[in-house]
Structure formats: structure tokens, C-alpha cells
């Protein structure tokens, strides 16, 4: 069954069973690797993408449900100013250890900053409720998101 939707601004069509998680369509059919498998149950956030601007766990999202929608993945982080600012902040602060959780966290953060340009730490932690990190990079991650938000606000001013 063919499923038509948009990914990172481009129209795509994927041939897959209806119930195939969006995660596998992105990784295997579209070759977009920055959305990652961590648990398959929506608990860890490594697979986080944005669908129509909202952060969702793509491992838990059947491909039929994104028909006609706008999907954004971490592969195109640089393509908008929020994503670019986040990436720059994470690199500047070296807010990465193994890096496996980071793309999913970047997407959760991107979704947050699009609606809340000045989040406090509690709001950021809430946005990362479904994102897990095992290496213990939490402190740097929170600081990098705050730094990106501050830089964006400065640019906009």
C-alpha cells in the first residue's frame, strides 16, 4: 500500500504495510537515519520526529496515520533557524557523549522552541519527558537548549 506524505519539505510516497511504524519507513525506505530505534514502545524518544509541528514518537506512529501530513526529522535540522541554532549550541557546548539520544532530543527541543521561545528549565524538562539519556549528558543538554533559545531571542531582537 502506498502512503503519501511530506518529509522535510519534500513530497514522498512509501510502499509499506499500513501498520509499519513511521520509524522504519524513514530509516529504510527513505534512507533518513537521524531517527533512531531505542525501544519500539514510545518510552525513550530516540525516534522523535515532528508531525505537523508536534513532537511524536515515530516508533509508535503507524505510517498510515501520517498520510498527507508534514513530517520533520532531525536529518534536516539545519533547514530552519530553530534547528540550526540547536545544532550549533549542542556542538558549541559539546552536549553529547554517545550521541544516540541527541537527534530525538533535538526534535523535542525544536518542537518546544517553536511554541515557547523562552522556556524555563522546568518547561524544557517537561518537553523532554519522553526522552531518555543514559550517558548522563542531561546537564549539558539542558544548557544547550537554553543557549539555543537565548541565541534565537537575541537574533530576533
Amino acid at each position: 500500500m502506498a502512503h503519501a506524505f511530506r518529509v522535510n519539505g519534500r513530497a514522498v510516497s512509501v510502499e509499506a504495510d499500513d501498520s509499519t511504524p513511521l520509524l522504519y519507513c524513514l530509516r529504510d525506505d527513505l534512507g533518513l537515519k537521524a531517527t533512531r530505534f531505542g525501544c519500539g514502545a514510545g518510552h525513550c524518544g530516540a525516534c522523535t520526529v515532528m508531525v505537523d509541528g508536534r513532537a511524536v514518537q515515530s516508533c509508535d506512529t503507524p505510517v498510515w496515520s501520517v498520510a498527507g501530513r508534514e513530517v520533520a526529522t532531525a536529518d534536516a535540522l539545519e533547514s530552519d533557524r530553530i534547528g540550526a541554532a540547536l545544532r550549533r549550541a549542542f556542538v558549541d557546548l559539546q552536549a553529547v557523549q554517545c550521541g544516540f539520544c541527541i537527534d530525538g532530543i533535538l526534535m523535542s527541543a525544536r518542537a518546544l522552541l517553536a511554541v515557547d521561545p523562552d522556556p524555563d528549565r522546568a518547561a524544557i524538562a517537561r518537553a523532554l519527558e519522553r526522552n531518555l539519556c543514559r550517558c548522563g549528558t542531561h546537564v549539558r543538554i539542558l544548557a544547550a537548549i537554553e543557549r539555543a533559545a537565548a541565541n534565537l531571542r537575541k537574533e530576533a531582537a
Binding site: F37, G40, L77, C98, F100, E129
Partner: protein, 702 residues
């Protein structure tokens, strides 16, 4: 020449040409056997190499973990990468620099001492130049590695330079991990496992398995079963659907779940006194306490993965193994192949905190590749990651101690009880690969054998560094374990650090002494004193500060393995219905620091990971097997639970670099437990410090 023995990496790889090569564009490629686990070590070793060779970092390329070209440097484990891998790299690069300096002096007709070096170019005072590339044809690197007393001019120092990690950019927004590898014709494999280790496959309907939607091949040997499909999701679905077409018989009964001390003390142990010094005294406060630490899972965010391709008679494995050369030998052995027919190439996986499933899944992929003739990627599920991977061994530590009339420790008898903390492929005679254990015919399995002191396994950091008038340490080694166990970051140092530092605190409290002062009273080691004082000062530790009303502060200290990095941790907690850590200050002395930010990142990470172990984690099992099989069953520290973390690094230029990746765990656990005591006057001696445990301790000590 110094009598310091050569790093083991050198004795294993004694030709200089194995370590580096100069390229025509004046870049130098160095080869290391230490691999990237997410800890930034490849960047640090490259930094050491560039520093020693007088190159700018951009001119230095590093290739790691490829059995075709990389030296065999044992495992990337045990906080040895700077101490041994870094030392080896420094030694070979110095030797190379010396050879090239001699050649430059000859080429330019000036004494070596008159040369300067920068960006890979040797220059004479009058500005004539000769680069590594210019000189390469005339310098023979196929010579034995030998320490060089004077390697000639050095380039500008890179030690302590803030160089960004080489691997970070590639891991953001793109195919930066082994999981992302693409090969034409790749099959996706998933292993179909029994309910528990040792379960036997007694019935299977091969036709039904082959007929599962999308299944392209089924691989079976004995109780080992793997399904493969062209489409990844079909393999995932087949992994669970397959259970309807197989029947398992349970493996041997395992020891029942219960409080750790009960579980461990019910099992037979082989006992040995591993340290004895001085004679026991007393006269003051006495302590008789038992501390416990449960089984802990690796719980990496990414699951283990491997890619394998059999081309002709040669098998290539891409793996995030910590020990590429060991994996190569073990897979060859398991599959009845010559070692020369197998190549292992390291690629980055998700975070690795010890012996996880990376080697096991490499076997899974290898067997499928050999049987199908297709390139194969096998990825573990979250369940396999949590339940089939080895865990960190549980420990129980009994401490029987006494002070003299002056409040100094006069007697200290520690009895440590634990399993092996290492069961890696290549450790012992036989094969340590999970899938191979299920094959028919069966493979020889090494019997459990722990790592001996001085590094130690269950007894790592079991000998307190303090100047005690008496110290006796016994290790009760329990060979049988209810769960599959092997190395987890820190090995026994986490449990032993928790126990020793909790006991120190209990003795201090019982004798009315400040915990910081009490520790300093027993330490002559200036570097140990320095980290304790630094952490206490930064944390604002006033002597004799009264705790209570739910808010408290505690300290923990250790020198990792009693010979690697020094670490002191102060934790501030708030205890209401659960323990909330508000702030952690860590002070670390890792010798001469290569990459301050890299080190700080590892220490912060070690602290936060240890907080998660301390506050939340314990693997649970019952007669049907491991029950903690998802993130819901096995929660780890979340973003809403992290404290402020401050890391203070004490740099020691000129001192050897000390392994620090594992140094924070024991001190962190103790700092938190000690802070809980300071906050609510209740001593908790069993990890994790979950609300039920705190509540029970409050009740018992009321």
C-alpha cells in the same frame, strides 16, 4: 634509560610501522586499538598523537579498531585508554618524531637542537624547512618500538587544549552509527529467544517460520534461532510471531529473587583474604554493618547491533565491540573458521558502559551471514538489551570496624561477597558469546573467574586507600549467579565505594567527628586530600553543619583502583517522599589532563549515571527469568530529576594521565547515602535508595 616497563599495548605490538604512517600530503595516520564508546577517547588519543608529533590536530588522522591495521590493545575498558593507550601512542609518536628530527637535521645540515617544529614541519633558524612528508622516503618505520630519551624539538603543546570531539558532528542529523550502515542486499535479522537463559528449543515448525510474512531465511542451530527478512519491520514482527511456532523447555532453576544479602549468602563461595595489614585494636566506637548493591543493567538508549558479510571464504564483521581482536578470535572459534578468515571493523554504537551485547550480536550476524551468504544486520530489541545482555554483578559487603580512644580507625575488616565482574569473549578458556552457547554441538563455556587484584573485579576498590592501623579484606567469590553477569562501569568499585564511604561516615557520626575532617585524618596522600578539600570547599562544606528537616549533604571519596584517578563527590539532597538530589560537586585529579572538556563530560556523565543506579535501579527476576524488560520496568533518571552538577578538575602537568571514566561512581553513591543520613537521620545501607527502601529504614530505625 628509565626502567619503567613498556605499556602492554607496545609489548603486544612492537613494530613502529604498526602504529603510524606518513602520507604524501603531510598528514599522519595513527592506528589505535582503543575504540570510541561515546567517551571521547578517540579525540583524546588523536590529541596526544598530534601533540607528540608536532602536528596541528587537523593534520592527524586516526584509525581505530580495525583488525586489519589496528594494534591489538586488549579491550577498551577498565579506564585504561589514557593510561595505556595514550601512553603507548605518546611513546610511538615520540620515537617517530625523533627519527624524523634526525632526518631533518641531516637534510638541513644543522644540529637537531637547532630545529623548531610546528604543523608537521621542521625548520632551521634560517627558515629552511623539511616536513614529515618530505623526509618520509628516507625514514624507516619498520623498526622495534623503543622509548626515546630525547625525541628532539616539540611542536606547540596541545595538552589541555579545548579540541572539539571528532565524532560529534557526524552523529547529529545523519548516519553516524553502525545502526545506519547500508549495504546492497542487506537482510535484517532478529533472534528468537527462549523465555530465559538456558531455555532449550524443544519443538519448532520450520515451515511455519519460513512462511511468516516477509521472512527470507531462518537460521537454526540447536536452541539458537534467527529469522531474517528483506524489510526490517517484517523481521521485527517475525521475531514475536515466531514464538507461536516454537516451544521452549525452561533452563535450570535459578536462585530465587530476594534481598541481595540473602541471595548472595545462600550461594556457595570460595573465600580468600586479599589484604591484611596491621593489628586490630579498638577502645572507641564500633561498627558492624552490611551494605548491598543489586544487579544493574547497562540500559543503553540504543540497542546492540552488528553487520556481517561473508564474501567468498572471508567474513567481515562491523561491530561496536570493545575488543575487536578478541571478538575476531572468538567468532572464528565459534564458527570453526581460521582467524585469518575473519575481519572485525569497529563502528560506533550507542553508549557502552561495559560488556554489553555487542559481541553477542556480532555472533548473531556472523552466523546468519555465513549460513545465508547475504550481508546481514542484526539489531537487538529493547527486551534483549535489558534481559539478554549481561548485568553488573550484585555485591554485599560486611564491615566490622572500630575506632580507638582518639577517634582513629583501629580495626577495619571488610568481607566482600560478589560474582565475577568479567565474562567477556576472550576471558578464560572457551567461548563467551551468547548465541554460541545455544548451538548444537555445544561450545565450551569458560567457568566464572574474576579479575584479580590489583585491578580487581568484585573486590575492585575493596581495599580502602586510608591509613588505617589495621585493615583486612576478604573476598568471598560466588561463582553461581541468578543472572548473566559481566563488566559494568566501575566493576566492584561502585559497591565497594558505597560501602566503605558509608562506613566511614557512620564511624564519623558515631564519634561526633565531621565527615570531611575524619577522612583527612586518615589520609597522608596529598592528592587525595586535595580532591576532598576541593570538593568540600566548592560545595561550601562548613565543619559540623547540622542537617535535618529533610535537607542534607554528604561526601564520598575514592582513588579508582587505588592507582587511577582521584575523585571526591559532595551531594546535597532533599528527602521528602523520595530522595531528590539538588546539587553535586565532583573534584577529580586525573594527572596531566589531555582534554579538560572531555574529562569533565565523562565525570558529569559518570555522576549522573551513578545517581540513576543509586536512586532507581535494580534488575528483578523470578523463576521465569528477568522481569525488567522495558523502560517501564526499569526506569532510569529523567530530565526532571537531574541536579546541578559542578566538576572541578585538578590538573597535574608532568604527572602520568590517570584513567577517569569510572572514577565517580562509588563516591557518588556514598555521597548521596551519606546526605540522606544527614537529612533525615536514617542510615540506608541497601541500594537503590527507592522510596520503599527509605521508608523501611525509617521504620526500622525509629
Amino acid at each position: 634509560m628509565s626502567a619503567v616497563p613498556l605499556p602492554t599495548s607496545i609489548t603486544a605490538n612492537p613494530r613502529l610501522s604498526a602504529w603510524l604512517a606518513v602520507r604524501a600530503d603531510n598528514r599522519i595516520t595513527v592506528h589505535s586499538g582503543k575504540v570510541e564508546l561515546g567517551q571521547g577517547i578517540v579525540t583524546a588519543i588523536a590529541q596526544i598523537a598530534a601533540d607528540e608529533l608536532g602536528l596541528s590536530p587537523a593534520q592527524l588522522d586516526i584509525v581505530v579498531g580495525d583488525t586489519r591495521v589496528s594494534p591489538d590493545e586488549w579491550y577498551t575498558a577498565g579506564s585504561q585508554s589514557i593510561e595505556v593507550g595514550g601512553a603507548a601512542m605518546r611513546l610511538v609518536c615520540a620515537q617517530a618524531r625523533g627519527l624524523f628530527a634526525d632526518a631533518a637535521a641531516a637534510r638541513l645540515g644543522v644540529p637537531r637542537a637547532a630545529l623548531s617544529l610546528a604543523d608537521g614541519v621542521f625548520r632551521s633558524a634560517d627558515g629552511r624547512a623539511a616536513s614529515y612528508a618530505d623526509l618520509a622516503a628516507g625514514v624507516n618505520l619498520d623498526v622495534p618500538v623503543a622509548p626515546t630519551a630525547d625525541a628532539g624539538p616539540r611542536g606547540p603543546s596541545l595538552m589541555g587544549a579545548a579540541l572539539p570531539r571528532r565524532d560529534i558532528e557526524g552523529k547529529l542529523g545523519g548516519p553516524g552509527f553502525l545502526h545506519d550502515m547500508v549495504l546492497p542486499g542487506l537482510l535484517h535479522g532478529r533472534v528468537v529467544r527462549g523465555p530465559d537463559h538456558g531455555a532449550r528449543l524443544v519443538e519448532l515448525d520450520l515451515d511455519a517460520l519460513r512462511a511468516l510474512p516477509g521472512v527470507a531465511a531462518v537460521v537454526r542451530s540447536g536452541s539458537y534461532l534467527c529469522v531474517l527478512a528483506e524489510r526490517e519491520h517484517a523481521a521485527v514482527k517475525a521475531q514475536s510471531a515466531a514464538q507461536k511456532h516454537v516451544r521452549w523447555a525452561a533452563g535450570p532453576a535459578r536462585p530465587a529473587f530476594g534481598p541481595i544479602a540473602q541471595v548472595l549468602k545462600a550461594l556457595p563461595a570460595a573465600s580468600e583474604t586479599v589484604h591484611e595489614s596491621g593489628r586490630p585494636g579498638g577502645g572507641g566506637v564500633a561498627l558492624n554493618a552490611s551494605y548491598s548493591k543489586p544487579y544493574v543493567a547497562h540500559a543503553s538508549i540504543g540497542t546492540c547491533v552488528a553487520v556481517a558479510h561473508m564474501e567468498g571464504q572471508h567474513l567481515t564483521l562491523w561491530s561496536h565491540t570493545q575488543g575487536p581482536h578478541f571478538l575476531r578470535a572468538q567468532v572464528a572459534l565459534a564458527l570453526g573458521m581460521a582467524v585469518e578468515s575473519v575481519t572485525v571493523i569497529h563502528r560506533d554504537g550507542a553508549g557502552c558502559y561495559g560488556h554489553n551485547g555487542a559481541d553477542d550480536v556480532a555472533f548473531d550476524a556472523a552466523l546468519a551471514a555465513v549460513r545465508t551468504g547475504r550481508p546481514v544486520m542484526v539489531t537487538w530489541s529493547r527486551e534483549e538489551e535489558l534481559a539478554a545482555s549481561p548485568c553488573g554483578s550484585a555485591s554485599v559487603i560486611d564491615i566490622d570496624a572500630a575506632l580507638d580512644a582518639e577517634g582513629r580507625v583501629a580495626k577495619w575488616h571488610a568481607r566482600i561477597r560478589s560474582h565475577t565482574h568479567i565474562k567477556r569473549p576472550g576471558w578464560g578458556e572457551g567461548i563467551n558469546l551468547l548465541g554460541a552457547w545455544d548451538m548444537d554441538p555445544p561450545v565450551p563455556v569458560p567457568s566464572p573467574k574474576d579479575m584479580p587484584l590489583p585491578a580487581g573485579g568484585g573486590h575492585r576498590n575493596g581495599i580502602a586507600l586510608y591509613d588505617f592501623a589495621h585493615q583486612k579484606v576478604d573476598y568471598h567469590f560466588v561463582a553461581e549467579s541468578p543472572l548473566r553477569v559481566s563488566a559494568l562501569r566501575g566493576l566492584g568499585a561502585f559497591a565497594n565505594g558505597f560501602a566503605i564511604e558509608s562506613a566511614m561516615d557512620e564511624l564519623a557520626a558515631a564519634s561526633g567527628q565531621d565527615p570531611v575532617a575524619f577522612r583527612l585524618k586518615h589520609l597522608d596522600d596529598a592528592r587525595a586530600r586535595a580532591v576532598i578539600e576541593a570538593a568540600a570547599r566548592r560545595a561550601g562544606w562548613p565543619p559540623g553543619a547540622a542537617g535535618g528537616e529533610g535537607r542534607g549533604r554528604g561526601i564520598g571519596f575514592a582513588r579508582y583502583k587505588n592507582r587511577s584517578a582521584y575523585c571526591a563527590v559532595v551531594a546535597e539532597v532533599e528527602v521528602a517522599e523520595k530522595v531528590r538530589v539538588i546539587r553535586v560537586v565532583a573534584a577529580v585529579d586525573a594527572g596531566h589532563i589531555v582534554s579538560p572538556d572531555g574529562l569533565a563530560n565523562q565525570v558529569e556523565g559518570g555522576v549522573i549515571q551513578a545517581l540513576s543506579w543509586t536512586l532507581k535501579e535494580a534488575v528483578r527476576w523470578d523463576e521465569s527469568g528477568t522481569r525488567t524488560r522495558s523502560w517501564e520496568d526499569y526506569p532510569i533518571l529523567g530530565f526532571d530529576e537531574v541536579p546541578v552538577v559542578e566538576v572541578e578538575l585538578i590538573d597535574r602537568p608532568g604527572e602520568p594521565g590517570l584513567g577517569s571514566g569510572e572514577c565517580a561512581a562509588g563516591p557518588t553513591a556514598a555521597a548521596v547515602a551519606n546526605a540522606v543520613f544527614h537529612a533525615i537521620g536514617v542510615r540506608v545501607r541497601d541500594l537503590p535508595l527507592i522510596p520503599e527502601t527509605i521508608a523501611r529504614a525509617i521504620e526500622e530505625q525509629a
